[in-house]
């Protein structure tokens, strides 16, 4: 080793991993028990790694191909969103919510706007509610397409084809949303008591066309992988989330539903016009990688159904309650409230405390990925490293939401 080279000090997470190895060895459970020293290797996956979907960092202890221990390290995308809320008015803060979980921005805005509406006692118009459901479900579809596409890409080059097909379809959806809001991903579309713009001319027929095309495309994707023995072998029976895990760690969304838990806030804590709509809560019963993939595919279909129903039921009327446009400054009465909303990844909500001023006193996010990520050490340990990648892909993390 050259003299001038100084090994950098390992950070807290790596130190913890090394400490755990030492402890396991001391207990006689380490793999050096058989007399071979240094059998375990601490590998630092991320924050730049092809399959961590963002800047997630996993400090992985490997014993050969086997994952012994995982320590997730987050915070590389921390943008102080909770601090920013202290000096933004409620209205100014809407675009910042967009950027938390950027894959399903519409749903995030929705959760925030609902919380503020509840605090301030604003009731959105009925047409706006339907438009919110349509955009929320379109956003959910776009998000699930990204989730499934990138997950299959983790499994194989085959997935790269899936990624391109799915991103192409997502682009159709984003085109619709862009026409509606003016932006492709960071919509800034929801307003307190309604939405920013009414539907443009001809938008509903375009949306209907797409909804008619989507089921065929989804069938095509399923035919690509569902019948593939290698895919089944790599996904079935691996990374099982038990119902105890769901209870203990607060797992929500498709990950919980894949474990036969019919927890869907659209049903269990109904908001907006969901009680009037007819849709299934998709569940599966094994809770493994394959089931999580299946649940997402089923939910794509359900979302199509919901959007079609909303288009049929869409009432006429204003899209903004009260004045012609949303109030720039609102001052909710002092108090606090939390509203959870069914994001594509699970329960996403904001807890807001108001002190009666124009700024939120405290704003706290409840992010589904943050809770799901907590399960990683338990879920990945004991699997092969290739499985670990597949499992982490199937959990579908968005680091923007985790790190805030």
């Amino acid at each position: 080793m050259p003299d001038e080279f100084v090994t950098p000090e390992p950070d807290e997470a790596v130190k913890l991993a090394l400490r755990r190895i030492d402890e396991a060895t001391a207990r006689g459970e380490g793999s050096d028990a058989d007399g071979l020293a240094f059998n375990e290797v601490v590998v630092n996956m991320g924050p730049q790694h092809p399959s961590t979907h963002g800047v997630l960092r996993l400090v992985v202890t490997l014993d050969g191909e086997l994952v012994k221990d995982v320590i997730p390290v987050i915070g590389y995308l921390h943008r102080c969103k909770e601090k920013l809320a202290e000096r933004r008015t409620y209205f100014q803060y809407i675009p910042i919510v967009d950027r938390t979980e950027y894959v399903a921005s519409m749903n995030c805005e929705w959760a925030y706007v609902m919380t503020v509406e509840k605090l301030a006692g604003i009731q959105p118009t009925r047409r706006a509610e339907f438009i919110r459901v349509i955009t929320g479900e379109l956003s959910r579809m776009a998000s699930h397409l990204v989730a499934v596409g990138t997950f299959t890409a983790d499994l194989a080059p085959l997935g790269t084809a899936m990624v391109f097909y799915m991103f192409r379809d997502r682009e159709y959806i984003l085109d619709l949303l862009e026409e509606l809001s003016g932006a492709r991903m960071m919509f800034n579309y929801f307003r307190f008591g309604g939405v920013r713009y009414d539907l443009p001319d001809g938008w509903t027929s375009k949306c209907r066309d797409l909804m008619k095309r989507m089921p065929k495309l989804i069938d095509e994707y399923e035919s690509l992988v569902d019948d593939n023995a290698i895919f089944l072998q790599r996904t079935q029976g691996k990374g099982v989330i038990t119902q105890q895990d769901v209870v203990d760690f607060g797992i929500t969304g498709p990950n919980a539903r894949a474990s036969a838990v019919a927890l869907d806030l659209r049903r269990s804590r109904p908001y907006s016009v969901y009680p009037e709509l007819d849709f299934e809560v998709c569940t599966a019963e094994h809770g493994d990688i394959f089931d999580r993939y299946r649940v997402r595919m089923d939910e794509l279909r359900e979302s199509i159904r919901i959007v079609e129903q909303c288009l049929d039921m869409l009432p006429k009327g204003p899209v903004q309650a009260g004045a012609l446009r949303a109030p720039y400054v609102i001052t909710p009465p002092p108090g606090s409230c939390y509203v959870g909303q069914e994001n594509p990844r699970g329960e996403y909500g904001t807890y807001i405390e108001s002190d009666g001023s124009r700024y939120p006193y405290r704003l706290k996010y409840r992010d589904p990925c943050f809770c799901n990520l907590q399960l990683f050490p338990k879920l990945l340990s004991g699997n092969k490293i290739a499985d670990a990648v597949a499992i982490s892909g199937s959990i579908d993390l968005v680091l923007g939401g985790i790190d805030r």
Binding site: M1, P2, F5, V41, V43, H49, P50, S51, L62, E65, T152, A153, D154, L155, A156, P157, L158, G159, T160, A161, F164, Y165, R168, V225, D227, N228, A229, I230, F231, L232, Q233, R234, Q236, G237, V240, I241, T242, Q243, S259, A260, V261, E285, H286, G287, D288, K384, I385, A386, D387, A388, V389
Partner: protein, 372 residues
């Protein structure tokens, strides 16, 4: 004088072999990217030259212009040696392959053994490169690579033994000659070809067997620390490997350079149309390799090893025994072999997937339900 000529001849053939490797690699890169783009419903490289054909030349120059970087803790000698050595296999294999009638570097009598022996050089350099990089991803990738390539060499050899048995010679030129008149070995030993082909995909480290550099878990496996032209050498070798392995397959199983009018134009004792046939056949197989890569998910380490040791090797051994039995006891053994091999092929192709899926379904039924 003769010695001088022999040396000149040797130099010319080595130059040709290197040229084939480089040209094939550059062509294959563009070819694969275009085919992938077509299958994935996008455009692919189409800016550099007409239809993007010059893309990989531009990439090659870009790679040469990059900083020649070596990690401080990497072993300086082995780290440099590995990318230099990696080409040996691809170049040396060509020395026994007849490109066409009249162009063969050497009619080595142990040609088939030479083929197998020399392709192992790639394994060695992958192992060297991965180990000397002083990187955990590289090390894991290299060890995976070594394990995989050593395992899959065995079914490959088992396939080649059948070829040697059928032809009665280990000389590659004899193998081609024995297939004249469309008596291609692939026609009456298709099952052997299947075993050989699966093993050769694994030897090439390509999908679905691309574990040594599975980019979703190991960043880029053994090549993680390499950049610039050092990385370029690994990359070129991988893509040249497509053509080289297809050349071997064409020579041993598809009659080599022979085809309609193959010997029609003879200039300087070389059949030039045969050359065209040789490369047409080669590129059909290259296309198949690209296609397979895109349509199958990657196997996992245990599944990969299991497939080699539990399925391919036993089948290869049974295949050798059956072929020997047919050749010994069946009077017109070519017909007997053809019938046996086609039946085996169809049975394997027709039964393997359903049996696997049935097992998976059963496993799925037994799998505990989480709510229970």
């Amino acid at each position: 004088m003769d010695t001088l000529l022999a040396i000149l001849r040797a130099v010319v053939f080595v130059v040709i072999a290197y040229a084939v490797v480089f040209v094939a690699a550059l062509v294959n890169i563009v070819f694969e990217r275009r085919v992938l783009a077509f299958m994935q419903d996008r455009h692919g490289p189409n800016r550099t030259g007409p239809h993007g054909v010059l893309q990989s030349i531009a990439d090659a120059f870009k790679m040469m212009g990059k900083e020649d970087f070596r990690p401080l803790l990497a072993d300086p000698y082995l780290f440099t040696l590995a990318p230099v050595m990696v080409m040996i296999g691809a170049v040396a294999v060509q020395l026994v392959i007849p490109y066409t009638g009249g162009i063969t570097a050497t009619g080595l009598d142990i040609g088939i053994i030479f083929l197998v022996a020399i392709t192992s050089f790639t394994t060695l350099s992958i192992l060297l490169g991965g180990w000397s990089s002083h990187n955990k991803y590289s090390l894991i990738g290299a060890l995976r690579g070594a394990a995989q390539m050593i395992s899959y060499e065995i079914p490959m050899i088992l396939g080649l033994i059948v070829v040697a048995m059928v032809v009665g010679s280990l000389n590659v030129t004899d193998v081609v000659a024995a297939q004249s008149g469309y008596r291609w070995i692939a026609f009456y030993a298709p099952f052997t070809f299947l075993i050989f082909y699966i093993a050769s995909i694994a030897e090439l480290n390509r999908g679905p067997f691309d574990l040594p550099e599975s980019e979703s878990e190991l960043v880029s496996g053994y090549g993680t620390e390499y950049s610039g032209m050092r990385f370029g050498m690994f990359f070129l070798n991988e893509y040249a490997g497509l053509t080289i392995m297809s050349m071997v397959a064409v020579t041993l199983f598809f009659g080599g350079w022979q085809g309609p009018f193959a010997g029609a134009i003879q200039i300087l004792g070389v059949s030039w149309i045969g050359l065209v046939w040789f490369f047409v056949k080669t590129y059909v197989l290259v296309f198949a390799l690209v296609w397979i890569r895109l349509s199958l998910p990657r196997l996992q380490v245990d599944q990969l090893m299991g497939f080699a040791w539990k399925i391919l090797i036993p089948l290869g051994l049974v295949n050798i025994l059956a072929t020997a039995a047919v050749m010994l006891w069946v009077p017109s053994w070519r017909w007997g072999l053809a019938i046996f091999s086609w039946v085996a092929l169809l049975a394997f192709v027709g039964l393997f997937d359903p049996i696997l899926k049935r097992r998976l379904r059963k496993q799925r039924e037994r799998q505990p339900v989480v709510s229970a």
